[in-house]
Amino acid sequence: MELGQKIKCEADRTAGFGKAIAAMPGCERLGSCIQCGACSGACPLSIYMDQSPRQVIALVRGDFKKQALSCNTIWLCSSCYACTVQCPREIGITDIMYALKQCAMSERAYPAGLSIPILARQFVRMVVRRGRITETRLVMRFFLQTNWKAAISSWRLGLNLIRTRRFGIRQQHIKQHLELAAMLAQAKNANAGGSP
């Protein structure tokens, strides 16, 4: 049995983290949280989360950056906004999840073995290059990078897509994709506060 220290000291905190998250768009009311747990109750995915959304808020507010970024919670968030509309303090919990994802993405702080962020990364790359998403190509790339066995085991889905003529082989792209890329480069991380 391996014993690890569970108690959290000052060293486990990242001063200013909570404040920085609260400064991100949609996250302004983070501080108002009364830890009622309405978000966790409303979340359809909380059954799979290692920290409930409420706990994530507590961690963020307490500057526990490492814990907040390493949980699966933010990645299991499917952006259904059930938490946000139920929050009695009108906290943009989904936006906080976005903010945490952004932070985790930029620092590659997400938990190892979690494939969800990889899809996001692939998605972004495709948008930057082509301006649009070709779903089948995105998914194939995703599976190849994360779990090629899953790609093979999805052969039936692939066959079905071919059968229903939805298997997009041709990569969609926009005409001004270079201009778009330039635009995105210009706007990257330009939002207020920046990524913490």
Binding site: P25, S78, I116, F123, T134, E135, I174, Q176, A187, S195
Partner: protein
């Protein structure tokens, strides 16, 4: 009635049946959809997870192009696009720093965002601009005896829905009733289908899909009506995996526009119904 049309990537890919059915139905109802020139991906949830400002810039480009090409609102049939574009509008309206950054980025493409064009969902257009009576008048083959569970998905109504109730939206219910169908009382109308988690975290994602399918089955629905390409894909594509995990719940999911097309007597082959994995046999039989 002329609108800027933002189909979104899905409607050009997995969800093309939505696009295929939406266009003739809207045409029949006198709605003109002008596809936005060189539109780009809305950013969806993935982009928002990466970079807030870029996510806004993506949406803003589409809106700015639409705005520059003439007056009119934007119709975005995909729930995710609808939310992403609206979110962009809200961010740009409320956050001057982001707005300034985005305008600066748009300037690269010689575009300007004004925020004059509203982003609307076809459901809203159908119920409020076209009107239920007009829809009713166009019905030639009522969907009699079909029990349909209206499934709106989450991102249409949340977080800020302006045209329908957040907890119990009824726009689709009203259209279905106008089509002559029997609407099943379906409390999971706005519950999340699992989104992209069906692919990235099947255990979690498929469970959510299963809950919706299972409940529709329990309530005796013949069909599930959807208004979002991702929802439709999730509900239609994983019956085998779901059956393996939790038992069968084989209910076809079709787009509301396909149903409308059928009721309007449009040719079946024009409505993309063959693109369903699980064929909507009962629908085909009924009409």
């Amino acid at each position: 009635m002329r609108y800027h049309y933002f189909p979104g990537c899905s409607l050009k890919g997995l969800g093309r049946a939505y696009d295929e059915s939406l266009r003739p139905v809207m045409e029949r109802l006198g709605v003109e959809l002008a596809e936005i020139d060189d539109w780009n991906c809305c950013g969806a949830t993935a982009y928002m997870s990466t970079d807030h400002c870029n996510a806004c810039a993506l949406g803003a480009r589409n809106i700015a192009i639409a705005e520059s090409s003439g007056p009119g609102d934007i119709v975005a049939p995909c729930n995710a696009c609808y939310l992403a574009l609206n979110k962009t509008r809200n961010c740009l309206a409320g956050d001057s720093a982001t707005r300034a950054a985005v305008q600066k980025a748009l300037a690269v493409a010689k575009l300007t965002y004004t925020g004059t064009a509203a982003v609307r969902h076809p459901l809203e257009v159908l119920v409020y601009d076209v009107g239920i009576n007009v829809i009713k008048r166009n019905v030639v083959r009522p969907l009699k005896d079909l029990k349909i569970a209206p499934y709106y998905g989450c991102q249409l109504v949340r977080p800020h829905c302006s045209f329908d109730d957040q907890w119990n939206p009824t726009a689709m219910d009203r259209i279905l009733t106008a089509l002559g169908a029997r609407v099943v009382d379906f409390p999971l109308k706005t519950r999340c289908c699992g989104g992209s988690l069906t692919g990235t975290a099947p255990e979690a994602g498929l469970r959510l899909t299963h809950i919706i399918l299972g409940e529709a089955q329990r309530r005796g629905a013949d069909l599930i009506a959807t208004i979002c390409p991702l929802c439709q894909f999730n509900l239609d594509s994983y019956h085998d995996q779901i059956a393996r995990r939790w038992g069968p719940a084989r209910i076809p999911a079709v787009y509301i526009t396909q149903l409308m097309g059928m009721a309007f007597g449009l040719p079946t082959e024009q409505l993309g119904l063959k693109r369903n994995f699980l064929p909507a046999d009962k629908l085909l039989a009924a009409t």
